[in-house]
């Protein structure tokens, strides 16, 4: 079992003056999103100015529970970094945060329920518990736009990444139900 969703050698975040506080919060297993004090606009990733009103003042809004809805996703089948050779398939998800005005995080979806004889891909910490649990690669067919998800934390030596897992949290489920439903496939195969 690996310690992380991706193999060693993948790039990890290093804070700058603009976003070091965000990473300091994730280190403490808190998902915090910037909100403009003046006009209330949420923004991500962290930046000095509010794009709506140019105010510099903001507060960090704690995402409790840290839930979201899958806005889009892809199953990657070809490696784009030397550390990923041999790793695909894996997923990339964009998660919309309903508690933060719909800002999105890029992340990965893991499955803590496991099973199906699949190998665990990493050990992650549940957002509300420090216990490390094995994370499994979710069945690609189980991921969909509009899926309710919640944060799981992946601790590295000196930085922590917010990953996500399928969620039964009532608030996540309610947010997912509000998400626009998939349009039916448009047909036609002439060409």
């Amino acid at each position: 079992m690996a310690d992380s969703y991706f193999p060693k050698g993948m790039p990890l975040p290093q804070g700058t003056v603009d976003d070091q506080e965000y990473w300091a919060w994730t280190r403490r297993h808190r998902l915090m999103i910037q909100r403009c004090t003046k006009c209330g606009t949420f923004r991500h990733n962290p930046i000095p100015f509010c794009y709506n009103c140019r105010a510099l003042e903001y507060v960090w809004v704690d995402q409790i529970p840290p839930i979201g809805v899958v806005y889009s996703f892809t199953i990657v089948r070809a490696p784009a970094h030397p550390a990923l050779v041999g790793r695909p398939p894996f997923n990339i998800v964009l998660v919309e945060l309903p508690r933060a005005g719909g800002v999105r995080l890029a992340s990965n979806l893991v499955d803590l329920r496991g099973g199906d004889g699949k190998e665990p891909v990493s050990q992650v910490a549940r957002w509300n518990s420090p216990a490390k649990v094995p994370a499994f690669e979710p069945d690609p067919k189980s991921i969909y736009v509009g899926m309710p998800v919640e944060v799981v934390w992946e601790d590295h030596e000196d930085v922590t990444l917010p990953l996500f897992m399928p969620s039964a949290d009532p608030e996540a489920v309610a947010a997912a139900e509000r998400h626009p439903k998939a349009a039916p496939p448009k047909t036609g195969r002439t060409g």
């Binding site: 975040p13 804070g15 990657v76 784009a80 990339i92 349009a183 448009k186 060409g191």
Partner: protein
């Protein structure tokens, strides 16, 4: 009142090297850039010493001053770089040449792109080190590090919102491959694609198959821009630059999937300027070169430019609409209504970051394309969907 620059400049020469698959080219990328420049001048019948401006984009490694020095150009009056990566500047690059000529900053301006990735690092492959800072810190650790991932996410979202299917994406790929079969310069010449082959091909990043993605090739292409007055002394009938536009919509530089209008190609604002400047509408265009980084973005470009309504891009591709009538299936109901990427484009001709699409637009206007659209008078070039900034060009006979 018509736009002041409309039809005031023209393309009088096009040049390109041979196009070869990634890594096979032995001549240096810099040599290719110089060769394409020389060929554009030769095509125009202009001594290269007269060139006094050079425009590039996508952080081209071949600075115009180096080219001018190598080719013995006595005076360079304009040396210009279009900001932004990928193909976003393929049309804007020519737009900048147009501005230089119109304003009198220079008289004969080359707009070019040279790309021999085999000699450098591959485009779209991340060389990110152990630590990433800034915008990349919020995407690269999650493996969101290649353009194909971003476009896969946008395409998936388009499918969710509008019911677009992989079959629609296939129609775009088929158009490029069918056109390439008539173009001996195309890297995919002699390697036809079928719908079955498309659906059987491996996914790179779902929902995008191998055949949804641009090739990786080595080569260089260039065009020469001047005024219609100066064109009178040159060899070719000028192809007029009706309009150019460049730029980006709101917050399209937002990282980690936070751009608004997510399931679009970021052309909405730029295209509005373009049509207004040219004084025409989408229906006035008979042929279009629509940059393919990935097919899903072509579909969104078509919507952004108003060829169909938002969300209708999928069905729009059906019935052979994007294919030249001579290569479309017999009896295809929409055959030849809007042929795109008539040389094979980025998918099947060559991936010269879209400058090869400008050359093809010029050939269509000269009547010399290998997939010549009969009676074509106006051609659109839409460059770099989904990046910021993007750019557009309209040329006419």
């Amino acid at each position: 009142m018509p736009w002041s620059m409309r039809d005031k400049t023209c393309i009088v020469g096009i040049g390109e090297t041979e196009y070869t698959p990634w890594g096979q080219q032995r001549r240096s990328e810099f040599q290719l850039a110089c060769e394409a420049t020389l060929k554009a001048c030769e095509d125009a019948g202009l001594p290269v010493e007269q060139v006094d401006g050079i425009c590039g984009y996508s952080d081209d490694r071949n600075n115009g001053c180096r080219i001018a020095t190598a080719l013995g150009i006595p005076q360079l009056r304009f040396n210009n770089m279009f900001w932004g990566g990928g193909g976003g500047g393929a049309a804007g690059n020519v737009g900048n040449a147009m501005m230089a000529v119109y304003s009198g900053m220079a008289n004969y301006v080359i707009a070019f792109r040279a790309l021999a990735q085999g000699q450098f690092s591959r485009f779209g492959q991340s060389g990110a080190g152990p630590r990433v800072q800034g915008d990349g810190a919020h995407s690269a650790p999650f493996a969101l590090m290649n353009p194909v991932h971003n476009y896969a996410l946008q395409t998936r979202r388009h499918m969710h919102e509008y019911g677009t299917t992989e079959d629609h994406l296939c129609n775009i790929s088929l158009a490029s491959y069918k056109h390439a079969q008539r173009n001996p310069r195309a890297v995919m010449y002699g390697r036809p694609l079928t719908r079955e082959l498309y659906h059987k091909s491996r996914y790179i990043s779902e929902p995008l198959h191998l055949y949804d993605c641009c090739q990786e090739t080595d080569g260089s292409a260039a065009v020469l821009v001047t005024t219609p007055e100066r064109a009178r002394d040159l060899k070719q009938r000028p192809v007029y630059l009706m309009a150019a536009a460049q730029g980006t919509g709101p917050r399209q530089g937002a990282f980690a999937g936070n751009k608004p209008n997510f399931a679009t190609a970021n052309f909405s604002e730029t295209a509005r300027d373009l049509w207004a400047r040219a004084g025409i509408e989408p229906k006035d265009v008979q042929v279009a070169q629509v940059y393919e980084n990935m097919t899903g973005m072509v579909l969104m470009s078509i919507e952004d430019h108003g060829f169909c309504k938002r969300g209708e891009g999928g069905p729009f591709t059906e019935g052979g609409r994007l294919e030249h009538k001579d290569v479309a299936e017999k009896g295809a109901p929409n055959a030849g209504k809007l042929p795109i990427n008539t040389s094979g484009g980025n998918l099947a001709e060559a991936y010269t970051h879209g400058l090869e699409l400008v050359n093809e637009a010029v050939r269509q206007m000269r009547g010399t394309s290998t997939c010549q659209v009969e009676g074509a008078e106006i051609c659109l070039v839409a460059a770099g969907p989904g990046v910021a900034p993007v750019s557009d060009l309209i040329v006419r006979r």
